[in-house]
């Protein structure tokens, strides 16, 4: 993390521009929701600030995950493509830990701060939130970040076999898109898949619902698949490391 900060300081203009673009991007993303509500319609049963709350939680979670796990995919992909992954394997460290520790993505700080700003704005408009709801939110937010971490690891694991495909991340992004909106607008099958199989509902929708006191007892069951998903990501990554065939170093 320290070296990432030093690196950002060396290329500070690039860092500032990247962070600003990410920040502006996140201001523009909820614009679609604003325009929908401005047109006099809505997501049934959801107010404007409630939807913005979902989207802000999603952005915060993405930012946090991107800070810690964002570089895993690109670093793994680069090493596999160049055939230099064995250099990491030779180090006296857990390779996954080494990659995570050395790819702290400081550029994503704009994403995280953009999410926090939007979250504060939306939370101020949804009324008072009791302490218990904040605790529920914290638990679900951590679970949602675990889902994103699991997805990053799975995408990185795919890159061991699907060498040099820079579009792998689009696969995860497309599925994550579901988590940016209220889950009840989707059919039951999609809702079930988004809470139990690839629990993207936990990234934005369920933590925000916890703050709004809209969760049911059954929703808490979705926390377990999130951590199983992360465990699956770690396991698949390790499994692919074992299958790695290098060409030198």
């Amino acid at each position: 993390m320290y070296s990432a900060l030093q690196s950002a300081a060396a290329y500070r203009m690039n860092f500032i521009v990247s962070s600003l673009i990410t920040l502006v991007g996140n201001i523009l993303f909820p614009l679609v929701t604003l325009l929908i509500y401005r047109a006099g319609t809505s997501f049934p049963g959801w107010g404007l600030y409630e939807v913005l709350l979902i989207q802000s939680v999603f952005t915060m979670s993405s930012g946090l995950s991107s800070l810690i796990f964002g570089g895993v995919l690109w670093t793994t992909m680069s090493h596999v493509r160049e055939g230099s992954f064995e250099v990491i394997l030779l180090k006296p460290l857990n390779p996954l830990f080494f990659i995570i520790a050395t790819t702290f993505s400081i550029d994503s700080v704009g994403l995280f701060l953009g999410g926090v700003s939007l979250f504060i704005f939306a939370a101020m408009h949804v009324g008072a939130i009791p302490v218990l709801f904040w605790l529920q939110f914290a638990g679900m937010f951590i679970a949602g970040t675990a889902v994103l971490a699991g997805l990053s690891l799975m995408m990185a694991a795919i890159s061991f076999k699907w060498v040099g495909n820079s579009r792998i991340s689009e696969l995860a992004d497309s599925v994550l898109h579901i988590g940016k909106y209220p889950l009840p607008i989707f059919p039951k099958a999609v809702q079930a898949a988004a809470t139990m199989i690839i629990p993207v509902g936990m990234v934005g929708f369920l933590p925000a619902s916890a703050l709004l006191s809209r969760v049911h007892a059954s929703d808490y069951a979705a926390i377990l698949p999130c951590f199983l998903f992360l465990a699956a990501g770690v396991w698949i990554y390790w499994h692919m490391i074992r299958l790695y065939e290098g060409v030198g170093g």
Partner: protein
């Protein structure tokens, strides 16, 4: 006549070589077969929920909206471009110099490359997604007018190329144009109408779109596809809309040529 024939031969050869080169990575293109339908499915449910009891929003009915998002996705596969990234890389690495030694203008070369690359996109992205939209999602993907839609998509193809090439030309001053590229992609994502039709924007913002390149890349061709173009309170026929798009494309080409000439004066190289 001979000159035209020679240019056609060069175009065909460059496009053919690019097609073969990228065919080795066709699975990259095939990611769209998963990503495109998933995005479309999400849009489908979002807008089905948002319409609720409304028969029309922003002057657009739900089936037309679904067709619109299907069209923007498919048009995106036909017009996708990264000429800016490519040119920036050539400038940064100094390889642009070699194009001064070739008997072909680099911009033409890049355009022919794009034709080859998108031919591959047509086979491995456009056609599979078109079939998925028609047979799995049951969307009517027949354009209101085939000739005007094809012409509009062709103009969007050229417009996208010239805009991106202009962004790539900024590398002659900045060396690394990644920041401008990201900024443009960000703004374009919103104002091209790929996320939400421009009818939903405030009136003044809709009017500004006539003077910016964004709507000509996705919104206008998608609306020509649906057969109902309106923006800023103006309702235009397909012929009129495509006419405006053609003018915008020519202005962009002119601006691109102006920037290119300035950029060439800026160019220095130290060896091939």
């Amino acid at each position: 006549m001979n000159s035209l024939k020679q240019k056609w031969l060069i175009c065909r050869t460059v496009a053919d070589v690019t097609y073969k080169e990228w065919s080795a990575y066709r699975s990259h293109s095939m990611v769209s077969i998963i990503v495109g339908p998933v995005y479309f499915m999400v849009q489908y449910f979002i807008w089905t929920a948002v319409y609720g009891d409304h028969s029309s929003l922003g002057g657009i009915e739900l089936p037309q909206m679904i067709r619109y998002f299907g069209a923007t996705a498919l048009i995106g596969y036909l017009t996708m471009d990264f000429a800016d990234w490519n040119l920036s890389m050539l400038v940064r690495t100094g390889k642009f110099l070699t194009f001064h030694l070739r008997p072909i203008h680099h911009r033409s070369f890049a355009l022919f490359q794009k034709i080859g690359h998108r031919s591959l996109g047509f086979l491995f992205e456009f056609l599979p997604c078109l079939l998925i939209f028609i047979f799995i999602f049951g969307v009517d993907m027949r354009p209101a007018s085939f000739p005007w839609t094809i012409l509009s998509v062709l103009l969007a193809f050229l417009m996208n190329f010239y805009v991106n090439y202009t962004i790539g030309l900024t590398s002659f001053w900045l060396v690394q144009s990644g920041g401008i590229r990201n900024a443009f992609m960000l703004v374009s994502g919103i104002f091209s109408g790929a996320l939400i039709p421009l009818d939903f924007f405030p009136h003044w913002l809709q009017m500004i779109q006539f003077f910016l390149p964004f709507q000509y890349l996705a919104y206008l061709p998608a609306m020509v596809f649906t057969g109902h173009y309106s923006l800023g309170g103006l309702e235009l026929s397909s012929e009129q809309a495509v006419g405006i798009q053609a003018v915008a494309m020519l202005v962009t080409l002119g601006f691109n040529e102006f920037v290119r000439r300035l950029a060439m004066k800026q160019f220095t190289a130290v060896g091939a």
